[in-house]
Symmetry: C2
Amino acid sequence: MCGEREVVLNMSVTIKDVAKKANVAPSTVSRVIHNSPAISEKTKRKVRKVLKEMGYHMNENARNLVTKSTKAIGIVMKNSARESLYNPFFPEVIRGIGDFCNKEGYSLSLTTGETEDAIFEDVVKMVQGRRVDGMIVLYSKKDDKVVPYLLKQGFPFVLIGKPSTNMSGITFIDNDNVQAARELSEFVINLGHQRIAFLGGSPEFEVIQARLRGFQQAMEQAELNVPKEYIKLIPLNRADGIKAIKELLNLPEAPTAFMVMDLLLGVLLLGVLAEKNLKVPEQVSVVCFNHSEFIEFLSTPLTTVDIHTYQLGFEAAKCVFDLIANPEMMEKSIRIPTKIIKRESHFVVKKENK
Amino acid sequence: MCGEREVVLNMSVTIKDVAKKANVAPSTVSRVIHNSPAISEKTKRKVRKVLKEMGYHMNENARNLVTKSTKAIGIVMKNSARESLYNPFFPEVIRGIGDFCNKEGYSLSLTTGETEDAIFEDVVKMVQGRRVDGMIVLYSKKDDKVVPYLLKQGFPFVLIGKPSTNMSGITFIDNDNVQAARELSEFVINLGHQRIAFLGGSPEFEVIQARLRGFQQAMEQAELNVPKEYIKLIPLNRADGIKAIKELLNLPEAPTAFMVMDLLLGVLLLGVLAEKNLKVPEQVSVVCFNHSEFIEFLSTPLTTVDIHTYQLGFEAAKCVFDLIANPEMMEKSIRIPTKIIKRESHFVVKKENK
DNA sequence: ATTTCGAACGCAAACGTTTGCGTTCGAAAT
DNA sequence: ATTTCGAACGCAAACGTTTGCGTTCGAAAT
């Protein structure tokens, strides 16, 4: 009967086209699309048939314009996309966010800037340009402009990480990094280690500060000394990583255990140790933050802390949706538990008499 | 004078607001924003001042609606976001795309679907919903629905990879994977290896097929036999990877060299070899496709093929822009060169008398 | 003093939706 | 036969831009 299965090319069919063909008003078509109870089943059937026939698909821009929503959320990467993308943290958190958004029919928009300023510009464009309904900020650091901006704009966003102490009104998802680092430290201490190094990323990131505190608390409680040289807070790249690691290994009293704050840095450490013929775990213990499926591809079975990155992303997305639905919602914070995944990258130190 | 530095909160300021305050018509404001020559410098200055004062920012939805463009491009990931995201290929290609788009003031939109069908739905929503001006498809495989759909819609897109042979009209960016694999094979053959295994991803991906052909060509030319058991085309995950590797190692005549098609698979191979106490490069040679900065974090200095992933992304983005600007443009294909990065994961075989 | 003519702007429609309000209309109540 | 009253729809404005065309207006030409 209606044998016209021609492909409607290029120019898209609008609600008005459908309305005309179905002999109803555009508003009726709109209500059918949204399954409004104000339309009779008979009309709905008729209109739906035409919708299918003509291959109608909504123009989201028009819809966004009138409803003032976009069905998209933005993701703010940390300063250098370069650093941010390589780290297994990123894909994992994106997957968590993406899964939730997909479930809700939302799409994802990424910042593309490489520098901090470019990223800020991206954020402004997303927010003011009304391209997204909400944002997720993937980091928390000192002297960041993005979070204060979003706060001032009253724009719905959630932070992955803990906000700077002097800010309130921020909904955030985080691990208890102090606690997690303390536990991990205690684990290493209980193995008998006394010379423990702390190898982490830039101190400007809150997560590093928190873990450092946890480490220091545990060391203090165990009445162990932490020489300044044992703490390396460095940018996450190969050159700085190797430099820091070599400095640690060349110390007169080199550490016997390393607490590493980042998986890639851990991988790098394993590399340098192998090069120097230092066996893990026989001679050196290594424990590392941020578990990832990825580490299963490595040869050394690294003991890691699982911060449940996927869950961080998933919950962050969920919170953004709550915020969008109810902008006046009280701020809240969600804590995702951490778990030490014990594998074989550590050894028990024989009791020394001090 | 104009001491009102009040933050305009929540409700955004529109062109009309600016027009009223500047005592001009909305159209004039619009023309000032686009720096139309039809407006006098005097008026431009006046309007620009008000624009700044009021903190105007364009509503992109309204703009998109009338201009029928979106200033965004979509990225189609390969089937499982899970697999796709972990691989260093992804961040690198995204960075290439992102850098170009950022330069042009475009934003990026990702598919969030996990299954093939969900991804297809995402694509339809992006295209029909007029959310993006163009698309970049990150893979080429058999029985894919996305590419034929885009083709039928006449929607601007470029493919990273080589399209299925029976399709035309597709602009694509690719390496010469046949050639690259042949060169790499010849490199390994010239080291004296005769028993060479080919360890790759799913055969449904065109890239794997191409590299396999290159490998076979080189082997044939060197008059070397390739037993069926030496070719392992498997999904990219830990379990299947380990299974395939072990099967290869347990062969009565185990290969002395491995050509691996994926970096993560290469890392996995190194792990299994270490476990079995097989030294690289002393006992086994490993060469691997897809160089990445990431491999510098590894202990074994792997010899890899640099496919210039960043460049693939960058050129793909550039092509999409060309296509958007000129939709009737003739299809074209761009070939990105490859380069073998020689490091120390291979050894020279002493001449055997066969 | 009138006409001509660009330069510089304004009017108003258009993009494709949504939605408050009004209208129609048939059945039920009077 | 008239009124009442929901149910079911249509009208038209609105969202915030862009842009073709018309209008204004001052200077130059006549």
